[in-house]
């Protein structure tokens, strides 16, 4: 092709902002395609990282208006970040996708119902711990009252939407308040020798439905010489908001959390939910244009550590109690792709006497949970889940471990769908169990 023709469009509408900077890093090689679960399942370029970047570019260049179809293509993305791991050119895909979704949020008139639900969840529930608790309490009531059975039996939910029905079945039991209160604001190190003073970000969903995992996390930390501070009035990390175009709300919550933890003088800030950890590590990026918070935010982010990352870093106490199980480990996307944490959870599992860790094919693939993806895209989510469970089944494992609440819920549901009688647990729970067995 003649050079003159090639040059026609070069540098013409070049813009210098952070989104364009990221978009320009994509050389268009297509090497990310096979690692993208939606591309693999759907097979179209629109469902691929390169296609999504091309679409976003068209919009940010001012050549394409935001339409429902545009939104549809970008929202089909799981934000699993597998493409970031795969990309040899180092494109940070989420730095393109998040602003694109924010633009969609601002520019698109969504159908009323859709909007209502989203607004309810994002604006009116998640930012307010009280309301989230209320909703949780409501769900729990619904569960223990036997109404759940009735609703399932009559297919009431199906008449509203197939997707809601599936999600409804996934609802975990909400833990009673007494148990939740067992998580103390200050937990002293076990045996008294304090080596680290750490903060614990208990997470909103984690705290409500996975209270036992939070308790296990704190026990494990205490066992490893940590004084653990769990401020009662922390807020949701904002990950879900960020992935769904509610960037301003995410920023508000970030500022709040930074203020809460800043004054505590901590060595590290610990998280046991991969999704939250990934978002918390990005506070620096999120608030980089906020003159008051930019510096505090990046200092905050630098202290954030995933629990397995921290334990391996400090050379955790090897457990003596044995667990005789064959365990498969599934990498949460936001741990392996979002934070590059791959060997640490495995190292913890391998340290447990008696435990046999087996290789899981495509363990670095999204299970289809992806925040609220299983609610917004139930069909594709289930296809990914079934693909995952087929691999799980092939391992012959009798226990599945992972490290993120959304994944635990989704995988439990997957095990049920696949007819596998297997439990799904958090890595830290197994370590906690191994420690407690030492006493037996």
């Amino acid at each position: 092709m003649p050079i003159e023709d090639l040059l026609k469009n070069v540098g013409v509408d070049f813009q210098e902002d952070s989104v364009h900077e990221e978009i320009m890093k994509c050389v268009g090689c297509g090497l990310c395609l096979p690692y993208c679960p939606t591309y693999r399942e759907v097979g179209t370029e629109m469902a691929s990282p390169r296609g999504r970047i091309a679409l976003a570019k068209e919009y940010f260049d001012g050549k394409l208006k935001i339409t429902p179809r545009f939104a549809e293509h970008l929202y089909l993305c799981l934000e699993c970040l597998a493409c970031e791991t795969a990309c040899p050119s180092g494109v940070k895909f989420h730095r393109i996708m998040e602003p694109a979704r924010e633009a969609i949020k601002k520019n698109l008139e969504r159908p009323l119902w859709d909007r209502m639900v989203r607004d309810m969840v994002f604006k009116h529930i998640f930012p307010y711990p009280k309301r989230l608790q209320l909703l949780a309490g409501f769900l729990r009531l619904y569960q223990v009252s036997g109404l759940q059975w009735l609703v399932r039996k009559t297919g009431l939910l199906r008449s509203i939407s197939e997707s809601l029905e599936e999600t409804e079945q996934m609802l975990p039991p909400i833990q009673p308040k007494a148990l939740r209160d067992a998580l103390k604001e200050v937990t002293p190190p076990l045996g008294g020798r304090k080596q680290y003073r750490v903060g614990f970000l208990s997470g909103c969903v984690m705290n409500l439905v996975f209270t036992p995992i939070n308790l296990a996390t704190v026990r494990v930390l205490a066992r490893n010489g940590c004084e653990v501070i769990t401020p009662r009035f922390q807020k949701c990390c904002g990950a879900l908001h960020l992935h769904n175009g509610e960037t301003d709300i995410a920023r508000q919550m970030a500022r709040y959390n930074i203020d809460i933890f800043e004054k505590l003088q901590l060595d590290a800030l610990l998280v046991n939910s991969a999704g939250c950890g990934s978002a918390l590590k990005e506070y620096g990026e999120l608030l980089k244009d906020d003159s008051r918070y930019a510096q505090k935010a990046s200092a905050f982010s630098q202290k954030v550590k995933d629990i397995s990352e921290f334990l391996v870093e400090i050379g955790f106490v090897k457990p003596q109690g044995a667990i005789y199980r064959k365990v498969a480990y599934d990498d949460p996307c936001h741990l392996i792709h979002g934070q590059g944490i791959k060997f640490q959870p495995r190292e913890i599992l391998k340290s447990i006497p008696g435990l046999e860790l087996v290789e899981l094919k495509e363990s670095d693939w999204c299970c289809g949970s992806a925040g609220i993806y299983n609610i917004t895209h139930p069909e594709l989510s289930m296809r990914l889940l079934d693909r995952k469970m087929a691999h799980v089944k092939a391992t012959g494992a009798d226990l599945l471990a992972t490290a993120n609440p959304g994944c635990i819920l989704q995988l439990r549901w997957g095990a049920k769908r696949a007819g596998l009688k297997m439990d799904v647990v958090h890595v830290v729970e197994l370590l906690d169990q191994a420690y407690s067995k030492e006493l037996e």
Partner: protein
């Protein structure tokens, strides 16, 4: 026929869910890994040969141009729909139809990803040999169209040596079968003609390939040199010794530096060149063979020879070579990945000329290449926000190509001509050569609806013709 009726007719063939025509869809089918772009009017996703045949019948009846597309990793713009029309996307035709271990053949649909095919046979100890650096993404159909090569093609040959039979839908919709599981068939070797035809003679819908046992033993070595000349002499000495390594790759200093900054593969940054050598064969005698190669390297002034001691070390050594393009991609926002061939004895002279050209145009250049067969891949970083810099990079690229041709080389080793180099074809072919090729094309693709605008120079556009010395 209006657009609406055409959509309806295509939808009848493949189902509505497999026809796309909104701007938000088409935007993503404007490009491949080359620099240019063009918008198609429709994208269709067939799943069977019959569907492809029906699509092409409609297209040829309505005189609508069409182009096949695999994964869109082509670097010569082959899959770009320069004349608009229909993109026939084969990504959903991705079934491995049969693996016959006994006769060592596999039958696949064109959308099967190269590496997936090898993975599917891994347990049985088999693999598909051609291994382009893009093998994780590119499709077997795309490999057939471009006659793709890779590091391991030195000893075992490029794609054409591994393809035994094809099912092809001709541009008029007719379905033909060429070759088969056996090694040779009577009549014209149409398989050989179709491999490397860059999607201009029809759409391949089924491929029979040769599969091979994985080698019993593999040894990988990295030899570093303080001069390019020493490295190049070593390459010639190895091949003259009668041993054909499975792979014999070279990288120059800028490439080594880029790779080390990013991948930490353990390449010595002080070296002027490294050779990555892989030997394959039986366990017996492998150590002796490796020793012989080490000696050849040492007698040609290698400053260091590393031999990978285990699989992990082997992967580490390969990592540097495999991520070379990506490493360059980190220091710029686009690179021009060139592809040209020079006779092996001219390697050093051509390289020094390449450095001079880069200097003249004030651009960087890093070289990675299949040294064993003289296939060079100069990588020129570009800054797409700077029109002047891009222009210099492109002009330098053109000059590099011409310099390879002057040295008795050719336009493309494995990436194809496509849209990228069609205007340069007169540099290596005279009028009679080109006419012969055009006549062949006319037999299959008389109306030029099948991937138009590729391979051949645009009529009426004149180019200074500097005939290649032959």
């Amino acid at each position: 026929m209006d657009k609406k009726s055409l959509i309806d007719e295509l939808a009848q063939i493949v189902g509505v869910e497999n026809v796309f025509h909104e701007p938000e869809d088409l935007i993503t089918y404007q490009y491949d890994a080359y620099l240019s772009r063009a918008m198609p009017d429709f994208v269709v996703f067939p799943t069977t040969t019959e569907q492809v045949s029906k699509i092409l019948k409609v297209a040829s009846r309505e005189k609508v141009p069409f182009v096949a597309r695999g994964a869109g990793t082509g670097i010569s713009g082959g899959a770009i729909p320069v004349k608009g029309g229909i993109v026939v996307a084969l990504s959903r035709m991705n079934k491995i139809l049969e693996i016959d271990f006994e006769s060592r053949r596999a039958r696949v649909q064109p959308g099967v990803i190269n590496l997936d095919l090898s993975h599917a046979m891994k347990d049985k100890g088999f693999h598909y040999i051609p291994d382009p650096a893009s093998q994780q993404s590119c499709t077997i159909g795309g490999n057939v169209a471009e006659n793709a090569g890779g590091p391991h093609c030195l000893a075992y040959g490029v794609t054409t040596n591994h393809v035994l039979g094809l099912t092809v839908v001709l541009p008029n919709g007719e379905i033909i079968h060429t070759g088969g599981k056996a090694l040779d068939y009577p009549g014209y070797d149409l398989t050989g003609l179709l491999v490397g035809s860059e999607g201009t003679l029809g759409i391949v819908t089924e491929i029979i390939v040769r599969i091979e046992h994985r080698p019993e033993a593999v040894k990988t070595l990295l030899a570093s040199f303080s001069s390019m000349l020493d490295a190049a002499k070593t390459v010639s000495a190895i091949i003259a010794s009668g041993t054909i390594p499975a792979a014999l790759e070279m990288m120059d200093k800028p490439a080594i530096e880029a790779v080390e900054a990013f991948a930490h593969a353990g390449y010595p940054v002080e070296a002027a060149a490294v050779l990555l050598i892989e030997l394959e064969g039986l366990k017996d005698g492998m150590d002796r063979l490796a020793k012989k190669i080490v000696e050849i390297c040492q007698s040609h002034k290698a400053i260091e020879v590393k031999v990978a001691q285990n699989e992990q070390e082997r992967m580490q050594l390969w990592k540097g070579r495999k991520c070379a393009a990506g490493a360059i991609g980190r220091i710029c926002n686009k690179y021009y990945l060139h592809d040209c061939v020079v006779p092996r004895n001219k390697l050093v002279a051509v390289l020094s000329e390449i450095y001079q050209i880069a200097e003249k145009y004030q651009v960087q250049v890093a070289n990675v290449f299949h040294a064993g067969d003289g296939n060079l891949h100069p990588l020129v970083p570009m800054d797409m926000s700077d029109r002047d810099q891009v222009e210099r990079a492109l002009r330098a690229g053109d000059e590099i190509l011409k310099c390879c041709i002057q040295a008795g080389g050719t336009l493309s080793g494995e990436h194809g001509i496509g849209l990228e180099k069609n205007e340069l074809m007169p540099l290596i072919f005279n009028e009679a050569d080109l006419t012969a090729m055009k006549k062949v094309k006319a037999v299959f693709n008389p109306e030029d609806l099948c991937n138009p605008g590729k391979i051949f120079p645009t009529p009426g556009r004149c180019l200074e013709v500097t005939q290649r010395p032959r």
